[in-house]
Amino acid sequence: MTRMANPFAMSLAFKLAQRNLFHDRLRLVATVVGIVFSIVLVTVQLGLYFGFGRMVTTMVDHATGDLWIIPAGAKSFEDPSPLDERNRFAALSVNGVFDVTAVVIGFAEWRLPGGGTTPVFVVGSDVRAPGLHPWNVVAGSVDALAIPNTVAVDQTYFERLGVTGLGATAEIRDQKVEVAVITKGIRSFTTTPYVFTSLDRARAYTGTAANKAAFFLVHLAPKGNVASVQERLQANLTDVEVLTQAEFRERSRTFWLFDTGAGAALFAGALLGVIVGTVIVAQTLYSSTKDHINEFATLRAIGSSGRYIHQVIIWQALLNAVIGFSIAASIGFIIVDQTAESALPIVMTPTLTIGLFALTVFMCVMSAIAAIIKVMRIDPAMVFTQ
């Protein structure tokens, strides 16, 4: 019986690339290790970058408000100068504004029940109005913060704060506090624990005057236009800036990621990873091409176009990329999982994953350039002398 030909016969350019690649397993392992090392490094660096970027804006992201009134020139959420309460009243008089709530923040000393102190970052807003309240509540209720001297803390910091759960007590600024709300996953990139409380308690704990606040959150009237209200507020208020949620988020991100150099350092690490990966892949691909130079010369001699030979080399590069990325991504996901509960989790989003794959492909294809140049210089007549 005649065997039927496979109508989906694999392209020989691909087959040749695959065979060239798997022919020398040791070199393949070296190449894949190089790619994996490179991509894991890039994953960690970019994951940290995105994780850090997400973390530095977490307070802005979770605040409910359409506009922020911040001190003029404030660089980030953590960089407040006290604003006068008069700004709140002035804002309330602007057409299109429904409500304005104050947010107070500041560092304070938390005295542990067993002795000793630790710094905390106090965040306070009016519990009965939309503002900046704790989220991811796992025990207690945000309403409980209306009870005097109650606070919300994250369970991640129990040990640091010397508490064990609801009802635990400590002191801030010599004032007794009781844990009434417990959250999960509200961590600070500064590693200083956040402590949520009511507006007046926050003022008391941070030593903020009763007529001062760090920010004001503006809530628009129904059908209010953000841009026009923003413009009117900016015109009516002095020594403040009026930003949308997105603008304030971007300003905070820019400050922490770029002005401090933290983002640049992470990017430099990622770039280093890309360079190392490119060099390793380029080197191994080049030496593989040199080893198969007779075969490439034969291809050329039997009339193969330059494009066909490029295809073989590019297929080799792409196979390297797919194998290397698959392993690197698996390691990346393990790292993401392991750091999920850490102070600075590495973030892996679908977009980042796709981007990393594209980067791997780009890196491997770029690495093929040296090999392609080498092959294109082959004199096909060398087959006569080999």
């Binding site: 392209s11 020989l12 087959k15 001699a301 009339g303 096909p380």
Partner: protein, 269 residues
């Protein structure tokens, strides 16, 4: 047996035609005039031997005729297409479309089996799929290797590898088959078998076969022998024997490239 020295007048349209070809290799002090005004045409339906001592310009002429190089002076036409001014890609296209190569050391791809090695010549022409597979099988059948389709070069003898290389050269219906010392790495039995295959291919009225060789045992297979020395064609001869008479030959005298009379008894069957 007598070898008749005659003036070559090709009545058929030439597949490959070199006119006053000069090829200079290297530059400066290392400059070598490898070909010094060579004119040669290959007609379909005949097997031509190109013989000459080492360094005589055989391989350079093969490279120029086979579009691996362009001549420094003179013209080369492949099926009517001039190679003058052609770049590497245009030369590659001429090779792809009109020329099949057979090399001394086979140059098969060790990681591909016999079928894929032959298919490769079609693959580089953009011919894939079942039809290409069928044609590759047909070519392997022509060289008597249909039973070795899935064998890798390392699993084949030298003669079988050379037959795969011949199948690769003919699968694309090339008008010219250029073979560089195709029997040099083979024993006489395998060399004989390879030459029989090439001679049979040369019987195709659409194909010309040019074999570069040092091996005088090959002479009986040729219709025509061209001798080259020092970059010039010094003699062209037509072999008086017909192919179907070759098997009857028991003893064959011929001048080798050094002019020494040798006797060979390898046509016995």
């Amino acid at each position: 047996m007598t070898i008749h020295t005659i003036a070559i007048q090709d009545s058929k349209e030439a597949v490959l035609e070199a006119t006053d070809v000069v090829k200079v290799l290297g530059s400066g002090a290392g400059e070598v005039r490898a070909l010094k005004g060579v004119s040669l045409s290959l007609s379909p339906g005949e097997l031509t031997l190109l013989m000459g001592p080492s360094g005589s310009g055989k391989t350079t002429l093969l490279s120029v005729l086979g579009c691996m190089m362009t001549p420094t002076e003179g013209t080369v036409r492949v099926c009517g297409n001039s190679t003058k001014g052609a770049g590497p890609e245009q030369l590659a296209k001429l090779r792809r479309d009109h020329i099949g190569y057979v090399f001394q050391s086979y140059h098969l791809f060790p990681t591909l089996n016999a079928l894929d090695n032959v298919r490769l010549a079609l693959d580089v022409r953009g011919e894939h799929g079942p039809e290409a597979v069928a044609r590759a099988k047909e070519a392997l059948a022509t060289v008597g290797l249909l039973h070795k389709l899935r064998s890798y070069p390392r699993q084949l003898s030298g003669g079988e590898q050379q037959r795969v290389a011949i199948a690769r050269a003919i699968v694309g219906k090339a008008a010219a088959i250029l073979a560089d010392e195709p029997t040099a790495a083979l024993d006489s039995q395998n060399g004989h078998a390879i030459m029989e295959v090439l001679a049979r291919i040369a019987e195709d009225p659409s194909r010309a076969v040019l074999v570069v060789t040092h091996d005088p045992r090959i002479v009986p297979f040729a219709k025509r022998i061209v001798r080259i020395e020092d970059g010039r064609i010094v003699r062209e001869e037509r072999n008086g024997q017909q192919n179907d008479e070759r098997s009857k030959i028991e003893e064959h005298d011929v001048d080798d490239e050094r002019g020494v009379v040798v006797k060979r008894k390898w046509m016995q069957r």
